[in-house]
Subunit: 316 residues, 2 copies
């Protein structure tokens, strides 16, 4: 069994290959060509922490993978990152562990950003005039970073609960040739942007349905566990297409969960990202429609990004 | 993060310390002082294989652990062991991975044998005149090995579906000062022994209720997943005490599952091993009673044996 640390994983990551593989992974998942058991969850109380286990197998693949991610929200007081994690890759021929990617959660961050990129590729209107980023954490920055693989748009508005953090993120991202404005009104962001990504740990809806105008796509990536919500559930009624990365996960703990609970949609109204990718279901039909993507993170992303790293290492 | 391979784990394993910690772990589990989510399961089809994930946290412990075990039953054709596995130990303060015990499944084998040992310690009659071992695989041998920590009895009867394997196990175990006979009749074994351990991958009951005489304790360790059964479910009606390592797991996929399905007992008739250990529930009251222990393997065993190994390594 080989062990690769964060720097080895970062060095081996080929973004375009990872995007291609994750795209394939979503399509395999939605067409039933993958086995993905329910997410495992362990909660700790003192200090408060959580551990999620995502695992599965894309049929006929040589590997299967188990990804373990942790979030301990008092780590900041120890000057440590909240999140950590690793992925163990097993042979699907023998069950023997082949490699541990001890990446500290970096691959989870990246595969989440890639899902945002794919959502934009398949669901955003044909012309994106301004990108809105809601949140200013690591994931908000990565989402913006990876959107460059989906659009040429360089005009960005950032809103975050803490303006200083939004300004800090804007400073970092301006180095990438983006023209960024920070706003204190989230409504203003919604009116100005037709591609919006929310990446916050919010537990209450931030974006109101009435703020979203015709021709907008919104991706919500924050609802990775129960109790989180970034978007007014009424937006699911207003939207023309509601897309889940995994319907079973989203109805359990995504934004979609609230929309169904509140009677705005039924589970049968949800489409799955992998089916939009494969063409099995229709996504956006014109530039006037509103689309919402609810991303909770699916094991196929973890499997495919791990595979992309291992393939890079092996071919090096 | 440190990685220890099988030889390092084997060298660091202190059996008596591991038994003590697993004993404590069962007591913590049954008294609600541990969080143990449902076992994760991934099935693979071609070749047939399975992956089980057991994980949890004993409250106030510095560590939590995730144990991943695999079983690929065509590995024998490749001259490889069927089972493999590893345990990842995380800090319960930060969620950061601390160590990987890449033991190839050895700790799972040992903690299973220790649960058998503890079942015998707490449930077997005061005088054991002959031990019966049903099965001749790795786990059957380990069960016999670890029973020396529960009893001085040196007289052993072995039965296995394949007589040649039973004879081979008998040969190995005789080196340990045991007096072993191999029988071709399982009924004969049941009549001769008052401590019986079944450790087979059987999917049909091997031991009939009418073969078990007054004053016998039986431990069944084979039912680690759905579809396995070693004991006639009617034995649960005949037994004076039916003990599960985990009631929730045993009613889902242990021997107890069949006994409840067949109407011989109710879930409320089951007692839990940790409660017998702590004294919260009564076990055997005299040497005439029949007791049955249904072991499916609980994450607290995995956590505690991993902890025992790490403590040994750190104190070395």
């Amino acid at each position: 069994m080989k062990v690769y640390d964060r720097s080895a994983v970062v060095a081996a990551l080929n973004v375009e290959k990872a995007i291609d593989l994750i795209e394939e992974g979503f399509a395999a998942y939605s067409s039933g060509r993958a086995t993905v058991p329910p997410v495992g969850h362990l909660g700790l109380v003192e200090p408060p922490g959580e551990c999620h286990i995502k695992y599965g197998h894309i049929h006929n693949d040589d590997f299967f993978a188990v990804k373990i991610a942790t979030g301990f929200y008092e780590n900041a007081t120890l000057d440590l990152p909240n999140g950590s994690g690793l992925t163990i890759v097993f042979s699907a021929r023998t069950g023997f562990p082949q490699a541990v990617l001890d990446d500290g959660g970096h691959l989870t961050d990246v595969r989440t950003a890639i899902a945002g990129c794919l959502s934009a590729r398949y669901l955003a209107p044909s012309s994106i005039h301004r990108i809105g980023i809601v949140g200013a954490g690591v994931q908000a920055g990565l989402q913006l970073d990876y959107l460059q693989y989906a659009t040429d748009c360089k005009d960005v508005t950032i809103w975050a609960r803490r303006v200083d953090q939004a300004t800090e993120l804007a400073k970092q991202m301006q180095a990438n040739g983006l023209r960024i404005e920070v706003v204190e009104s989230l409504e203003k962001l919604c009116l100005a942007c037709n591609l919006i990504v929310t990446a916050t740990p919010s537990t209450k809806p931030l974006i109101r349905a009435e703020w979203i105008k015709s021709g907008t796509h919104i991706t919500a990536v924050g609802s990775d566990g129960g109790g989180k919500q970034e978007i007014d559930s009424a937006l699911f009624r207003k939207a023309d297409h509601c897309i889940a990365d995994s319907i079973s996960q989203c109805v359990s703990h995504g934004e979609s969960h609230y929309a169904i609970r509140d009677g705005y949609i039924k589970e049968s109204n949800l489409k799955e990202l992998g089916n939009i990718i494969s063409g099995a279901q229709d996504g956006r039909r014109n530039d006037r429609e509103i689309t919402v993507a609810d991303l909770t993170g699916v094991a196929v992303q973890d499997i495919q990004i791990a595979k992309s790293v291992l393939l890079s290492i092996e071919s090096a």
